[in-house]
């Protein structure tokens, strides 16, 4: 798949997928003319098999299988350097977000990355406490990812500097936050939210 040649035709180019990404991200994909400025400034480039400009190029050709395969979209740190510097107003960070969503919808959690797990636990925490509870996030992430001792030695330092709290404090307006989450769930059921 990775190195096989592309057969281009109206059938093999999934332009419906491109339109979906454009709708989700609110950014044009066709506008990109492959100057490469996004890849030039991307701090995560060295971890990606497809640099950001190539992701857009593959998208332009409707090659969604190739875009979603691999870890490039998951290694994007959403730093938005690409979006800020793009001469053509292509919002690449938003496109990456849209691609991650499409990947989740199509294939569930990625085998390539634990980003989705982290994201989900992060949101679960917000829903439960109304704010972030880092200790729990770290503990559950390490348990669920099977990397029990990951970053364990950072704990004491973070604790002594007050960056990590042993006990959580709930947000006073937790009810309001719950409303946001349930409304999004409702909209999703109706198909009105991505």
């Amino acid at each position: 798949m990775k190195h096989t040649k592309m057969q281009l035709s109206t059938e093999t180019m999934n332009l419906g997928f491109v339109r979906k990404v454009e709708a989700l991200s609110g950014s044009s994909v066709r506008r990109c003319f492959q100057c490469g400025k996004c890849s030039a400034g991307c701090p995560m480039r060295s971890f990606m098999e497809h640099p950001p400009n190539r992701i857009v190029r593959l998208l332009q050709l409707g090659q969604y299988e190739r875009v979603l395969a691999g870890r490039s979209i998951w290694y994007c740190a959403s730093c938005e350097t690409c979006t800020t510097r793009c001469p053509n107003k292509v919002d690449l960070a938003a496109i990456m977000d849209a691609l991650r969503k499409c990947s989740w919808d199509a294939r569930g959690p990625s085998k390539e990355s634990l980003v989705q797990l982290a994201n989900r636990l992060f949101l679960d925490n917000i829903r439960t406490y109304g704010r972030q509870y880092e200790m729990r996030l770290a503990a559950v992430f390490n348990l669920r990812s099977g990397k029990l001792l990951k970053d364990f030695m950072l704990g004491p330092t973070l604790l002594t500097r007050g960056k990590l709290k042993m006990f959580h404090r709930k947000n006073r307006n937790i009810g309001e936050i719950e409303k946001i989450f349930s409304r999004i769930e409702e909209l999703r059921k109706k198909g009105e939210a991505p």
Partner: protein, 665 residues
Amino acid sequence: MSRIGVFVCHCGENISRTVDVEKVAAEAARLPGVSYACDYKYMCSDPGQSLLKKAVAEHGLDGVVVAACSPRMHEKTFRSAAKSAGLNPFLCEMANIREHCSWVHEDREEATAKASDIVAMMVARVKKDKRLVPITVPVTKRALVIGGGIAGIQAALDIADAGHQVVLVEREPSIGGHMAQLSETFPTLDCSQCIMTPRMVDAANHPNITLHTYSEIESVDGYIGNFQITVRKKARSVIEERCTGCGICSAKCPQKKIPNSFDKNLGLRPAIYVPFPQAVPNTPVIDRANCTYFRSGKCGVCQKVCGPGAIDYGQEDSLIVEPVGAIVVATGFELYSISEKPKGSPIKGYGEFGHGTIPDVIDGLTFERLASASGPTGGKILRPSDGKEPKQVVFVQCVGSRAREKGISYCSKICCMYTAKHTMLYRHKVHDGQAYVFFMDARTPGKNYDEFWRRAVEEEEAVYIRGMVSRLYQKGDKVVVMGSDIAVGLQVEIEADLVVLATAVQPRTGADTLAQKLGISYDRYNFYSEAHAKLKPVECATAGIYLAGACQGPKDIPDTVSQASAAAAKVMTLFAKSELEREPIVAKVNERTCVACLYCRKVCPYGAVEEKELRDRQGNLIRVVAYVNPGVCGGCGTCQATCPSKSVELDGYTDEQIMAMIESL
């Protein structure tokens, strides 16, 4: 004793970087006969010229040597400065220490020594310079325009509107050229016919324009202001004055299946035809090679049906002599064919693209005819092989162009834009079709050009793929395109219904032959050369001949029209004077020593040498000598070099002067 002034120029750093200009000036001051020498940063600038004028007046100079650039560059500048200081302009000479010295040497000491030598030689020469008076020749205020495309028509209309007579010569039966073949034009997508045909009619109806269609230039004699042009009017077999353009001959012609080259052979035409319905003049021509009457002597239908009796099978080519004062060359271009061997290439065409044998691989001009409302398909995009509507069309850029291996290293300039236009036209006509373009760079410098290309990509959804096509081959009824996308780094394969190649723009076949007749220079591709790439972009090195359009280099319509108007303006400048001043650098024959061997006549490239009879007072012939017509002499000096009795001398370059230059070393 002479009083010569030497003026050494730094040319910014161009000369002073390698030549010690102060030293050159100091050494020049020590030369015998030199009474003033100086150096200056920009001698050609206003303060530099003032320096020269002041020195001439203050030191009473009777000769000037400007050590600077080539005389081609600034001789005129300094001679007029010398003139305004009261010196005969031909007593001002240039010592070329830039092109002949500083630019071509690296060693400072040696270059300085050489510059001093060059200056010393020119000082020796200027001492023996004569006070010459410019020759005046009359100007025939009538222009010839060769080529009736948009360039020729524009130039002809501009000159004619200025009130001068114009002779417009076109090789084809109709004027209009390539622009008449186009469907729509970038970047505005206005219909080519709609903007072209009115101009064609204007040219034909203009009282100051004489139109010779189906005609070619037979020979060119003379010089600026006084050319004699012989035009060969090819036999049309139709008497133009009688023909009403009713078209009944074409309708009744039994021979109807001849491919029409105007439609790139997609459509058919009869043997007696006008190339296209909007042709100007609307007078048909008999294609004698395909006409039954001319092949077998039987038929004659057209003559029978022609009401005004305009058909004349016995018509022969006629030669017309036109005296003109200026010539605008606007012979245009043609497209490279992938089955042909380009000039200077070891390789014949594009074997990898099927050598032109795949019917559904066409060139850009053919696509124009398919897309044109007046084309053979009435504007429907139908492929040549089976007349089906193609759903996948692949466009390939830079075919022939930018391909040194194929013999053409230049960029054809118009293809990026017309291909973007083609993808749009295709999208407008075939809504469910997909256009793909293989390209290396999109070169869109021009007003609203890049926006136009981006529109093709972003709004009309043409898929542009950066990377070239390696091979095209027929597979069933498809043409397989093997390419690559270098942005992704993968091979790409497309099964196309139609492939359109943006083939290179080349000068017209026979452009070199015409150049030889006109005596103008051309490059290795046969594009005509302008006198100076920046400062004389429409003039030829040959005086009185100007260039317009794609015969000088690939050009789009806006550039062509601009250049044509510029050429017309140059012609008008020439016609603004009733007499023309020419440099008096001409050969003169010493009648006392001439033995009339007339070798000079044999070698003269300008045909300036005539026989002259010397007679006594009673009118008895003494002897015959050679005579150089100063109006025709180009001042090349070939006669001087050839003359066995040393009887011819070129003013400003006499043997005495050349010897003095050599002896000064």
